[in-house]
């Protein structure tokens, strides 16, 4: 994994905004950013106040993209001190974005200044933090979808199966898959769209 704080050459290239450096840093940290955006985080470990993640896959992608657009801005690249690991700096940007998002979706509440005339009566304190748990129903639903996907995979033709193996199971890039199959990158993108559409049709027929 490339480390900015121990690689001055990489750090300088990163600060200059060079494509290869940004790409390397993106690849090194995108999974960690994705986890924060998807699952949320605890605002304060001691008090366990949880900031929720984003459930929708497409919105997750928009937020992850926004995190890196912010992190790779000229201002942010130069604000990073290069002395400490980069990952906490990047995840802080991701967490700020989740907090921003939470704020934007709240209802509009007007602020007024008002003086209370009546006597105040102290009652019990109310300051505790509940647990929040992931719905196990979502896990079961994923498993059901995955079982249905395996059924789909059993019946695809050999060339499509090879494409799915390279692109999705081996996680090769579009360029690598194009080279392996002897096709253009544009054709790889077409195959991606076709596979997604075929799987969705298959799942819909099964009632998903």
């Amino acid at each position: 994994m490339p480390h900015l704080h121990t690689n001055p050459t990489l750090l300088e290239a990163f600060r200059r905004g060079e494509r290869e450096a940004l790409s390397a840093i993106y690849d090194a940290h995108v999974d960690a950013v994705s986890t924060v955006i998807r699952l949320g985080f605890n605002l304060d470990v001691k008090n366990a106040v949880r900031i929720p993640g984003i459930l929708d896959a497409d919105q997750q992608g928009e937020c992850i993209q926004e995190v890196f657009l912010r992190a790779f801005s000229r201002k942010s690249r130069h604000a990073y001190d290069g002395q400490r690991p980069y990952k906490p700096y990047l995840l802080r940007i991701a967490k700020n974005l989740l907090i921003d998002r939470l704020r934007r979706t709240r209802p509009e509440i007007s602020l007024d200044t008002e003086i209370l005339d009546s006597d105040l009566q102290p009652l019990d304190d109310a300051m505790s933090i509940p647990d929040s748990a992931e719905a196990s129903a979502d896990v079961l639903h994923w498993r059901a979808l995955r079982q249905a996907t395996l059924l789909y995979l059993q019946n695809v033709e050999r060339e499509t199966r090879r494409f799915i193996h390279l692109r999705y199971e081996m996680m090769q890039t579009q360029d690598q898959v194009a080279e392996a199959l002897g096709v253009s990158r544009r054709h790889v993108r077409t195959l991606e769209r076709r596979c997604a559409k075929a799987l969705r049709t298959h799942l819909r027929k099964l009632g998903f």
Binding site: D44, V49, D58, I99, L116, P130, S132, Y168
Partner: protein
């Protein structure tokens, strides 16, 4: 917390990205999404490294500069980091519930969004129901006092939230937040909210909110 019908509806929508993730057997980003985001981010943020033969350079300098400027558009100022507690800020208070930002329900956690000036870094809070019920949040006890926001807030949010359990009930509330230049105990806070002047310099913010019943 979404109800069962909403959850079921959300789960039923299988987008292209979900299909890609199913093919990868990976609930995180699919390789398609990963590559698309990388491509988009680099298109907007990476500078092109163009190597010109040296003898071409003097003639091409003007167009090269223009090209570089073209692929490095001016970047908007992005407020990645929050400067809190600066002298020119005013005291501000709003709330958000974590389970569903659109409404608060019994069983949710209530978070405080705080902004405060350097001159009033201490904070106290309680809420008052429509029937007059008072629920104290800060200080947490008769012997306690306002908290110091310089230590107890992070990224514009108070570190602690409030669990909307008993004695809260469903209904309309007014949340009172009191910002002061010195820590206050409950007696002083009551005096301050009731209009007594013999307390430290303070600002009061009142936020109306409604607690709905718990989802079954």
């Amino acid at each position: 917390m979404k109800n069962g019908e909403e959850q079921k509806e959300q789960r039923q929508h299988v987008s292209d990205e979900i299909a890609h993730r199913l093919l990868s057997d990976h609930q995180g980003m699919s390789p398609v999404q990963r590559d698309n985001i990388r491509s988009h981010v680099l298109k907007r943020r990476a500078r092109w490294s163009i190597t010109w033969p040296i003898w071409v350079l003097p003639l091409a300098t003007a167009s090269l500069v223009a090209l570089v400027l073209g692929v490095n558009p001016s970047e908007p100022t992005l407020p990645e980091f929050y400067a809190r507690g600066t002298g020119d800020r005013v005291a501000a208070l709003s709330i958000v519930c974590t389970a569903d930002p659109q409404s608060c329900r019994l069983g949710d956690t209530l978070l405080f969004e705080i902004d405060f000036p350097e001159t009033k870094p201490y904070f106290a809070a309680f809420s008052r129901a429509a029937d007059g019920l008072i629920v104290w949040y800060i200080p947490d006890g008769e012997s306690g006092s306002s908290i110091d926001l310089r230590q107890q807030s992070k990224q514009g949010l108070l570190r602690s939230g409030v669990f909307l359990g008993p004695p809260h009930k469903a209904g309309a509330y007014q949340l009172y937040g009191l910002f002061s230049s010195a820590p206050l105990d409950r007696h002083q806070i009551r005096n301050a909210v009731e209009g007594e002047t013999t307390v430290a310099e303070r600002t009061i913010r009142v936020v109306p909110f409604t607690i709905k019943g718990q989802n079954l």
